[in-house]
Each structure stands twice: as structure tokens, then as C-alpha cells.
């Protein structure tokens, strides 16, 4: 081995190497192990902790199949429809949000433990519910076509062409575990994944491509990334009317 001690490396280089190499990979850090003496005085942000805004420009990078996207939009817009409370999931950017999330380490399942042996029944029995055996990207790649195939088989139409009531009925069936989407897709787990991601997109910082105009935050009255509530804590029970603040300036 070269000793983990790199005598030629000063603190700046050590930190720099931690930060930049890390940004390139899924898990938080790579690069050389660093030997640190003395307090690192550098003030530049670690590259792998800088906020990374969602990819912009209108093109989809993971959800590239048009039918899949239409299926997803139809499902998302029933999970979060447009109404008096605010825009629909797709109007708020939740499809772009999901596409971007799936392009990140989250989509690759970088944090998951996916080593075998894998035994669905035994693991589900011990863990009280189905465990996850695939990355979110793969789960969408299998789940969306399965949903479309289900609609074609039961209704003879595209999922996206079904009436809102019929989509609600299918979503309700999935949620209750009463609809079988085939051997490769656990319908109930796929429903939970879509519901989780749709609502994440609606409620996460607009930095990530969803929650457009902070519509999700305005719906509930969450003031966002303000970070200092000392002036307000003693206004107990008062309506504070705080305009929400995002990590990125308003477009």
C-alpha cells in the first residue's frame, strides 16, 4: 500500500481531493483517505455537499418512453389532482422532479443493500412488509409498463385514456393490494413508491424541479428555508403570513 499518510499532500489538497472525487459518484465520498493534522481552514464548500439543482431544459433523461410518461402523468395527476388547493402533480413539475431524482444516486439505489441471498417471502415475513430488491429506476421501468398492460387487459384502453374515476378505482385497488400487476411488480409497493415520489415532488424545495411557485408549500403554509424563527416563536398561535423562501431565487 501507499500509506494512507500522504506526506506531500497539504490540508487544502486533502480536502480538495475528498470533495471533488466524491461529487462524481453515488455514495457521498470517494477519493483518497486523508490524514488530517491541524484544523482545516478552507472555507470553500465541499463539492459533494453543494446543492445540485434539477436538470432543466425540458428533455427527459430516464423517463424517455412516451407511453410510460403518459401513464405516470395520469397516475400522478390523480394522486395529486388540480383543484382549489393548488395545481396538479404534473403542473407542479413532479414528472421533471422524478426524472431528475431517478438520474441521481437515489434512482440507482446507491444506498440500498442488494446482496443475496434474496428471498421475498421469508424477508417479507420477518420485516412485516415486502422488502425492496430493485433500484427505483428499475421499479419504474417495470411498473409503468405493467400498469399500462393491466389497463389494456381490463379496459382495452391505454391507462392514460381511462376516466379519472376509473384511474382512482385502479389506484385504490393497488393501494389495498387487490390488483395483481404480474410476477415482476408488487402492485401495492409500486403504488407506495409513486405516492411517495409524487408527494415529494410537490413538497420538496423547488430546487429539485417540483413544487413550482412553491405551490405545495403555499397549500399548507410552510415558509421554506427561512432558518431563523427567533422573531416568531413567542407569537404563539398567531397567523404569521410568512412568504415561503426557497434555496434558489424565484425564476
Amino acid at each position: 500500500m501507499t500509506s494512507p499518510k500522504s506526506p506531500g499532500m497539504n490540508r487544502r489538497q486533502a480536502l480538495f481531493s475528498i470533495g471533488t472525487a466524491a461529487a462524481a459518484t453515488g455514495l457521498a465520498t470517494t477519493g483518497r483517505a486523508a490524514e488530517l493534522h491541524g484544523f482545516p481552514h478552507e472555507t470553500a464548500m465541499s463539492a459533494d455537499h453543494l446543492p445540485v439543482p434539477a436538470h432543466r431544459g425540458g428533455s427527459f433523461r430516464i423517463l424517455t418512453d412516451e407511453t410510460d410518461r403518459a401513464t405516470l402523468k395520469a397516475a400522478f395527476d390523480r394522486l395529486i389532482p388540480a383543484d382549489d388547493q393548488g395545481p396538479s402533480a404534473s403542473e407542479a413539475g413532479c414528472l421533471e422532479f422524478l426524472d431528475d431524482q431517478l438520474s441521481r444516486p437515489y434512482g440507482e439505489g446507491a444506498a440500498l443493500y442488494l446482496d443475496g441471498p434474496m428471498n421475498r417471502e421469508r424477508e417479507a415475513a420477518i420485516m412485516g412488509a415486502a422488502q425492496v430488491f430493485a433500484t427505483p429506476r428499475d421499479r419504474y421501468a417495470a411498473g409503468l409498463p405493467a400498469l399500462e398492460a393491466y389497463a389494456q387487459a381490463t379496459d382495452g384502453a391505454a391507462f392514460a385514456a381511462l376516466s379519472p374515476d376509473r384511474i382512482d378505482e385502479i389506484l385504490t385497488g393497488l393501494e389495498a393490494g387487490e390488483i395483481d400487476l404480474g410476477d415482476d411488480v408488487d402492485g401495492q409497493a409500486f403504488f407506495e413508491l409513486m405516492l411517495q415520489n409524487a408527494r415529494e415532488g410537490y413538497l420538496a424545495d423547488p430546487l429539485y424541479g417540483g413544487n413550482r411557485d412553491m405551490a405545495g408549500w403555499k397549500m399548507i403554509g410552510f415558509p421554506g428555508a427561512r432558518y431563523d424563527f427567533r422573531p416568531y416563536i413567542e407569537k404563539r398561535g398567531e397567523e404569521l403570513n410568512l412568504t415561503p423562501v426557497s434555496l434558489i431565487p424565484n425564476d
Binding site: P4, L27, F39, P51, V132
Partner: protein, 594 residues
């Protein structure tokens, strides 16, 4: 040995709370210390400043500060005989993996345990009779004292509170009970370093309600500092802004007690301190005689292995990894639940919890005003603070009304029961209930049993091919009765406060599993005590089996109190480090005769 580094006086394995407290004590005493930390260097201004920290999706939902399961996970089963499964996705275990450990992303509730918690066996027998203790033991509980009393721990608690800058109000100053503080706490010599935090709307309601019911509410002692403060190491902390992005997040304001905010600025400047980051210790290496270790074998991020020799090895890698590293190093004997022989892995316990949610029509709770440790608690039903003579359990729970956060994704199911989690029905419910919901949490004791333990998994491995740690655990009858009792009290309080449409989540109602549970407080497995046949460590946290190995963490607790663990971990770290530099270094050998 190849790739051998220069010898250190002490090597610290894991630079989180316990590791940094020990390194500070030991370097101040002049010892040459090398810390080896699996995660990266992280600091306030470079890694979680205010422009980065208030990002719920990244830090809370995706848990990007935490140690991923792909790096190391745990396997789990409810009972011996089952084949355990690996925990594949995010779950109740929320391990740290950066310099600072879980001490960077913790919430900051900063409790001293009750005097009773240290002597459950003795005090149960004294107060309720030997027969009561015998019947609990016959039922399967494995009760034993810690080998250290609250009185002996008090000075170490005091030291850690001063370093961490804990906010709070004393409830027992040298035996004098003070209303407004926790009148049930053990005696303390002086008040907290900084005053208690302010009340949110819900805390004020909870305080007034419980006071009206005859209870003794107090503000939870907090590692969210209430005003600027300079600690004994000369490090300055700034006031908490009630930012509401605390647990799972770092703190951008230098306000959260953490190794970063309280210790590292002083420790890193000491010439006799070195830290190797992104370097994982694989195991300790024993001398031929098996009575001591020579140092630790490690692997860098790049996969290069090396050896760090040292006179003393301190294992401070968090409760689970402390146990795992002892087993991987072959130090001591694996506990066996059938023969009850062996001490490594013995006395695992958890935290028995429930929560009660209520809704207040028309209220403005403004839940986004929050802090990780922000809450009001009553301890009237914690520990042995109430008479158990006519109850069918021992132990109890702290019952708190809390205001930790109003993060929108985390709270999206906090809607009145009967409403759908999607569609316009969800939107309408969430738009209304976000401001109207309030929570009470019961954080209860957990008693060890013969059947709950840790061992190495025979099948599943980590990324380096080493066996994962396997947990065998389920709720015991005593703890279930205890939390049923505490939950009833919490329901009464919620109703009295005016909460409606109650939702009750009693976590002990169904079999334990790591996805259903919420508490990160895993306890025991490498416990301290005065009897080497039932404890792995002596009362100075020194291994009975290898006298130059010390291990500090919640792994050392023989049972869990109705509190979060960290102040006790920090206090034990001070105690162990002082034993090392005041006694052990000059005269290496067992500090207590077996």
C-alpha cells in the same frame, strides 16, 4: 507487519461523540492519539451552512448524511431459530458516517439518566422485595446493575454538559427540588450552562395542561443552545434559531451540540492528534498471549489495507459497530442464550415508544418553528418515579409534547384519521391539518431479556466480505405492559389539552421490526458491570478480556432508561478517558480485579 504506521499511544476507532470526547481528554493529558474514521471530514461552513442545510428532501428524506446500508447493514430476526434477513432499505437504524458521527445529525435531547436506571436490579429488590426481582428474572428479564451509580456519574455528566453547552433548567440542585425543572432528576451540583429554550404554541399548551393535571412539566434539556456560549475548550457556539431542520441535518448556526461545534475546533489544533478519514477499521489484532491487542487493521477508501499499532485501543464506533468489532476481533466470548455463557452481544435492548396525535380545530401551531430537542416533558411516569407495587411491570416513560419540526414531506400523513393519503381529499386535509396537528411522544425504558442479543450473521457480508451483525429481538411482556400504561396517560393528556380525532401508535403492539420502528436508540451488547460473567466491560469501560481495549457507546448500557442515550454516552467517555490517562497508562493492566 506491512504498511504499518508509526505507533500511537492510543488509537480511537470512530470519531463521533464518544471518540471525540475521549480524544480531547487524552490529547489534553499529553498522549499521542490517532483517530480512524470511516466517514469524511465534515464541518459547519463547508458542509451544511444555512444555504445548504434547510433541504428536507436531501437530508431527511434521502438521508444523505447517514451511513448507507450498502456500506454496512444489520440483519434481523425476532427469535433464535429464524433465519435473519438483511435490512435493505432505510429503517430505524440511522448511523453516522462522517467525522462527528451521529453527533452531527442527532436531535440534541440531552438527558442524565435517573439514579434508578443504573441500579434497576438492586433498587427493584430494595423497594419491592427480592421476590419481585426473582419473578421478573424468572420471566426472562436479565436485570443487572451497571457497576457505577448516578452519584459517581454526576461529575462526568457535568463535564459533558459544559462541553456540549446543554440548555435547561435544574430541577434538583444538590437535593433541593426546583419547580419548573425536572424535579425527578438526580441531584446536580450546578445549573445547566445555558437557560432552557423558549416554548412554542404547542409546548405552552402542553405545559399548562400537564401542570393543571398535577404533573411536573419542564423544558427538555437541549443540545440546541439557547444563547451564545463559550465552552471550557474555548469554543464559541451561537444561539439556536429554531430553524426546524435539526435531526437528520447538520446545524448551520454552530448551535447544535456536536463534535463539530464543540470539540473539533480545539482538538484538531493539538499537535498530538491525527485523524485518518475515510478509513475503516476492520478489526483489532491480538498479541500472541491473547490478553492485549497490538493495534488495529484498517482499509482506506481506495481499498488499501494498513495497520495502526497502539498501546491502547478505544472502540467508539457506535453501539452496533462496537459489538461487531469486538466479535470480528475475537475479543471475549459470544453470548449464547441457551447456555447464558459469553458476554459479547448480551443484554441488547431498545427503546419502548408510542405516540399520540391529536387535532385542534382552528389552531395555528406553526410547526415549522422547531428544534431537534424542543419540547416539554413530564417524568412523573418515568423510571421508578411512581409506585409500581400494584402494577405488573417495572420502568416507565418520559411523556413529551414536542415541536421538533414541520418538514412538509415528513409530516404529509399527519392528517385526521379517515382521510385518504392522496387525491383532493389529501390536499384539503393536509392544507387544514398541517397547522392543527400536535403530538405527544412516550419514550420508555427497555429491559434486557435472555433472548435478545447480537451475534455475527452466518450468511450476509459487508462490502469487505466481513460478516454483518445480526440482531435477535422482540418486545418483552414487561415493556409492553409499561408502554400500554404510559400511552393511556398520554391519551388522557391529549384529551385534556383539547385534542380531537386521536391517532395512537403503540410501537410495541406488534412484533418488532426495523421498518415499523422510529427510534434510533439501539442499546447494549457490550455492557459494563462488576461481574465478568455477565458483563463485557468493567465499570471503567475496559474489556475484561483484553485490558488495553476500552469501548464506549450505548452498547455499554445494561438496560435502557426512558431517555435518549447520548449524555450518558458522553459522560461514560469522559470517565473512561480519565481512567486511561490517570491510571492505566502508568500502570497497564486490569483496573478492576476480576
Amino acid at each position: 507487519m506491512a504498511n504499518e504506521r508509526p505507533k500511537a499511544d492510543v488509537v480511537i476507532v470512530g470519531l463521533g461523540w464518544a471518540g471525540s470526547v475521549m480524544a480531547e481528554e487524552l490529547t489534553r493529558a499529553g498522549l499521542n492519539v490517532v483517530a480512524i474514521e470511516r466517514g469524511a471530514w465534515r464541518d459547519t461552513s463547508t458542509d451544511f451552512p444555512p444555504a445548504v442545510d434547510p433541504d428536507e428532501l436531501r437530508w431527511h428524506t434521502r438521508r444523505e448524511l447517514l451511513q448507507p446500508m450498502s456500506v454496512e447493514t444489520t440483519t434481523f430476526r425476532n427469535k433464535t431459530g429464524q433465519t435473519a434477513a438483511p435490512v435493505r432499505n432505510w429503517n430505524a437504524f440511522q448511523f453516522g458516517w462522517n467525522v462527528g458521527g451521529a453527533g452531527t445529525h442527532w436531535a440534541g435531547m440531552s438527558w442524565r439518566f435517573l439514579p434508578w436506571d443504573f441500579e434497576v436490579a438492586t433498587q427493584t429488590a430494595e423497594r419491592y422485595g427480592e421476590a419481585r426481582l426473582d419473578s421478573l428474572m424468572a420471566e426472562g428479564l436479565q436485570l443487572q446493575d451497571w457497576g457505577v451509580t448516578y452519584e459517581e456519574m454526576a461529575p462526568y455528566y457535568d463535564r459533558f454538559e459544559r462541553i456540549a453547552g446543554t440548555s435547561g433548567k435544574a430541577g434538583n440542585l444538590n437535593g433541593e427540588r426546583i419547580k419548573g425543572g425536572n424535579v425527578f432528576e438526580g441531584p446536580r451540583e450546578r445549573d445547566y450552562p445555558t437557560p432552557e429554550l423558549k416554548d412554542t404554541n404547542w409546548m405552552r399548551m402542553y405545559r399548562e395542561t400537564t401542570e393543571g393535571m398535577g404533573y411536573n412539566p419542564f423544558t427538555i434539556p437541549a443540545g440546541n443552545i439557547s444563547q451564545s456560549y463559550v465552552n471550557p475548550l474555548g469554543v464559541t457556539m451561537g444561539p439556536c434559531t429554531y430553524c426546524g431542520f435539526c435531526d437528520f441535518h447538520g446545524c448551520g448556526n454552530f448551535s447544535k451540540s456536536s463534535p463539530q461545534a464543540c470539540i473539533l475546533p480545539a482538538l484538531m489544533r493539538r499537535p498530538n492528534f491525527t485523524v485518518l478519514t475515510e478509513t475503516e477499521v476492520l478489526h483489532a489484532v491480538k498479541h500472541e498471549d491473547g490478553k492485549t491487542v497490538k493495534g488495529v487493521q484498517f482499509v482506506t477508501r481506495d481499498g488499501e489495507e494498513g495497520f495502526q499499532p497502539a498501546d491502547v485501543v478505544c472502540i467508539t464506533a457506535y453501539q452496533m459497530d462496537n459489538v461487531r468489532l469486538m466479535l470480528l476481533s475475537g475479543i471475549g466470548e459470544q453470548y449464547d442464550p441457551t447456555t447464558m455463557k459469553g458476554t459479547i452481544g448480551r443484554n441488547y435492548s431498545y427503546q419502548t415508544c408510542s405516540s399520540v396525535t391529536g387535532f385542534f380545530s382552528g389552531a395555528k401551531m406553526n410547526p415549522f418553528i422547531g428544534g431537534g430537542a424542543l419540547g416539554v416533558q413530564i417524568d412523573d411516569y418515568n423510571g421508578d418515579n411512581f409506585d409500581h407495587a400494584d402494577l405488573d411491570f417495572i420502568g416507565g416513560a418520559g411523556i413529551m409534547g414536542y415541536s421538533t419540526n414541520g418538514r412538509p414531506i415528513a409530516n404529509m400523513n399527519g392528517i385526521r384519521p379517515g382521510n385518504k393519503r392522496w387525491g383532493s381529499e389529501w390536499k384539503e386535509a393536509y392544507a387544514r391539518d398541517y397547522q392543527e396537528v400536535a403530538n405527544i411522544f412516550c419514550q420508555g425504558t427497555s429491559m434486557p431479556t435472555r433472548d435478545a442479543y447480537l451475534s455475527l450473521d452466518p450468511t450476509y457480508k459487508d462490502r469487505h466480505g466481513q460478516p454483518l451483525l445480526r440482531l435477535t429481538f422482540d418486545w418483552n411482556r414487561n415493556d409492553k405492559s409499561m408502554i400500554d400504561f404510559a400511552t393511556e396517560k398520554a391519551i388522557e393528556i391529549m384529551k385534556e389539552a383539547g385534542g380531537e380525532d386521536l391517532m395512537v401508535d403503540n410501537q410495541a403492539e406488534a412484533a418488532w421490526n426495523p421498518y415499523k420502528q422510529h427510534s434510533s436508540h439501539t442499546i447494549g451488547g457490550l455492557v459494563m458491570g462488576s461481574d465478568p460473567s455477565t458483563s463485557a466491560l468493567n465499570p471503567y469501560l475496559q474489556s475484561w478480556d483484553c485490558h488495553n481495549v476500552f469501548s464506549v457507546g450505548a452498547s455499554a448500557f445494561p438496560n435502557n432508561g426512558g431517555y435518549n442515550p447520548t449524555l450518558t454516552v458522553g459522560a461514560l467517555a469522559v470517565r473512561a478517558a480519565r481512567a486511561i490517562h490517570e491510571t492505566y497508562i502508568n500502570n497497564p493492566g486490569p483496573l478492576v480485579e476480576a
